[in-house]
Symmetry: C2
Subunit: 168 residues, 2 copies
């Protein structure tokens, strides 16, 4: 799928079919994270690829906003150093993964920012890292309304030359 | 360009040719930001599209790590609300823009995290927003070594099932 087409149509998905993701697609999603640029090329991140059913179940219990995680055949847990730059870098890597997955028809959703510390003992993540997100991946259960996004009007978020001049 | 191919080959570029970017490509880069997902769909961001030569020159003077900005025919300044989630969301939008631009052969680089407050009066950005980045875009001056990235070995940043089990 063309890059912009992936950006344009990708949808967050919370219901997954029980269909495995082929190994080469999983590998490509992982490589997308691995190859993403980071400030000063520091790569201040770790990615844990979870496919074990029992672990997925436990992730779904831990993440209060992600009870649907166990439906997914794959989740990638993203941990970063505890700095704003690392938070930013990790977010870029997640975007690369989400877009790459979607280009193969694999949907995902960002589960994060709430009480993810309990993931650390489950996966053996050291205390000095922050768990930024759990990202479940899978084929969507419903035909996704690809491309139907609710966004603010373009001119409300994009300006031309100066903040007070809406882009049109 | 296929999505993963864009992720795999995109390179940060600091030398640009003096070739304008077609309007439809600029528009697609802008739309990539506009359409990116954000936590709770809050869209806590603003994007300022700068093509004025004099403004680009001033951005290059302000950004101590981006003196090459005036070479680029386009820079997009990204401002977000002052929260970790907004920082994360803005970073995802930048990644969408960088990948979309690269799929058209347009390179870029992330200039940010250092003394960008002086951008606010220049562009009329309100004080309650943070300037996350200035992203210059243009055709690269040199044949880019696409796909040649220096990254840590995969097994150092990616694990299988648990943190202490390297992915291979």
């Amino acid at each position: 799928m063309e890059t912009f087409e992936s950006v344009r149509t990708v949808l967050a998905t919370r219901q997954f079919r029980d269909t495995p993701i082929p190994d080469d697609v999983v590998r490509e999603i992982v490589e997308a994270a691995h190859l993403t640029a980071s400030a000063s090329n520091a790569q201040p991140w770790r990615f844990i690829v979870v496919q074990n059913k029992d672990t997925l179940k436990q992730l779904g219990q831990i993440a209060t906003t992600g009870p649907y995680i166990p439906q997914a055949p794959l989740a990638i847990v993203v941990a970063t150093e505890n700095t704003p730059i690392a938070l930013s870098d990790g977010s870029r890597a997640i975007q690369s993964m989400v877009l790459t997955a979607w280009s193969h028809g694999v949907a995902s959703n960002w589960v994060g920012f709430h009480r993810l510390d309990a993931v650390k003992p489950l996966l053996g993540i050291p205390d000095n890292l922050d768990v930024l997100a759990i990202v479940p991946f899978g084929y969507p259960a419903k035909a996704a309304g690809a491309g139907k996004k609710k966004r603010k009007p373009l001119g409300e978020v994009v300006s031309r030359e100066r903040f007070d001049q809406p882009y049109s």
